[in-house]
Symmetry: C2
Subunit: 317 residues, 2 copies
């Protein structure tokens, strides 16, 4: 009404920049800006802390299976801990619900949360329930830990590093777009731990928004550029077919589909073989390389052209 | 529609009981059921973790000052850390907002959050922003710490203990009911630390729902009963007058008004003097005593009758 700037004008990352400025320099090993905060609580390991809110109508539909919504909410957080090379340990669950919701539905939501928590040794140690007149909101805080000399950040990539991605890309988006119910992928906790313990990785991030967007976060945090190669992208099963049916390019699903929850990492060329061996039985695929910041982030397409790659992943606003 | 049980039928605490059963026995020092979780992260102190979501239209109005809403959201969590005898340290802030919200409003909300955080040495180290079609939700996760041998729980009160309360009661409710803008009270972090370090307290809880409700939590967790005395309740400034104007009993504001964020504690009789000395300059007032579980929780009214005190504080559903 007033013409003053709205959140929609600056988006999620614009807001995060402004909030970071308000917060100032935190008294933490790592504050805002990585997959998790890294805290020194005096023990032999760093404490990792992350939080992720999911809202009905945005991240899941009102008629979606509540158990599945719960699983997704836990998985997205576990994946953030994996991206630091850490082990998840404790969860707190905040819920805002309409008082008229059936208890059965809330129990299904918790059952999904707890199912994924148990798979990864996470204990639910606290939480909070409040009422709302609006959509259901579930906010999961996850705490984890990582040995002090093994934590892997988004920053640390250097020109010449090879960009490796775990698993395959676009499968979640393809299933979602073709109207199928999509179970959450398995977050790469064990892979992240193996790579961190082997100290083979310069920088790492999990793919929540999509490779095409998340590679920008890694590049910006590291102060570098990146080149991806379309022909090297490991497409998930059926991604090429579903993309064709929908009149889309398979690479757009792989780059911008989101919710793959795979790991993207930068590894020095001489350690790529060792990283692949340490990852066994999980596959790593080279998808590009780190270059100087001035080159920006680009994609070499299948027909040999080089295009600027814009951060066009999942947009929250 | 189906006649199946709704959340409104069992309420917040009924739901917490069900969720606790789903979660099972946590691998934590203290899991669900105290003011905060108590975690052993390997350092010289325990890590404390708590989370509290506040929703527009429930905890604050849509036209409320955003800075004030932010202050309240941080204060309610800081008070939970205070109730454990701990020091708050790190916050993560999750926000669900309509994309059309003015950036200024979000910045005001964060300014309020950060204002209270800074007062107590809390660093904001992470968070998350998502969109919603519904009311604004702000969820604050707060981490703190407490020396291992100083943590104070809700359990531990024994018959014969004196119940002491800090500060005064009912002032927040009186101001709210008389339509005034209410600044949040100062959470009793320093008092909680002094009492915990002096090891003078058997059990402690912060008064968020109201003494009349929160005394039940302390009693249930400790497996005891409690007697409160109406004539001993320290009424906040103006509480008696405002209650009279509104045709209410002052004791109902003190018992059930909520959001006092004072501390209620059980102290052995021989240490009451020492606890009061350790609390200086903060006043402690004896409001009753701990009795056997069979006696339940009761109130001796001003005219000398003893009434069962029902947990009738702030109801979330």
């Amino acid at each position: 009404m007033t013409g003053e700037p709205r959140l929609a004008d600056i988006g999620e990352f614009g807001l995060i920049d402004r909030v970071s400025a308000l917060v100032g320099q935190p008294d933490a090993v790592i504050g805002i800006g990585d997959d998790t905060a890294v805290l020194d609580t005096g023990g032999p390991e760093y404490t990792l802390a992350t939080v992720d809110m999911r809202v009905e109508g945005v991240h899941f539909t009102a008629d979606a299976d509540r158990r599945s919504a719960g699983r997704w909410a836990m998985v997205s957080n576990i994946s953030d801990i994996a991206a630091m090379g850490g082990s998840p340990a404790y969860a707190l669950i905040s819920l805002a619900v309409n008082p008229e919701i059936a208890i059965r539905e809330i129990e299904q939501l918790y059952a999904g949360l707890i199912e994924e928590a148990r798979r990864f040794g996470v204990c639910v140690v606290g939480g909070n329930v409040t009422r709302t007149s609006g959509p259901l909101c579930v906010d999961v805080t996850l705490l984890g830990h990582v040995p002090r000399n093994e934590v892997v950040l988004r920053r640390g990539a250097v020109p010449g590093d090879v960009l490796l991605v775990s698993g395959s890309l676009g499968g979640q988006a393809a299933a979602r777009l073709s109207g199928r119910t999509v179970d959450p992928p398995t977050p790469q906790v064990h892979l992240g731990r193996r790579l961190a313990a082997a100290r083979l990785v310069h920088a790492m991030i999990d793919l929540s928004d999509g490779l095409g967007s998340d590679v920008h976060h890694l590049a910006v945090c590291s102060g570098v550029g990146a080149r991806l190669t379309e022909g090297m992208l490991p497409l998930g099963p059926g991604v090429a077919e579903i993309a064709r049916e929908l009149g889309m390019r398979p690479r757009d699903l792989a780059l911008f589909g989101g919710e793959d929850y795979e790991l993207l990492m930068a590894v020095a060329p001489q350690y790529v073989g060792a990283a692949m061996a340490a990852s066994h039985p999980e596959a790593l695929t080279a998808v590009g390389s780190i270059v100087a910041a001035e080159e920006g982030v680009s994609l070499e397409t299948a027909d040999g052209r080089r295009e600027a790659l814009l951060p066009g992943g999942w947009r929250h606003f």
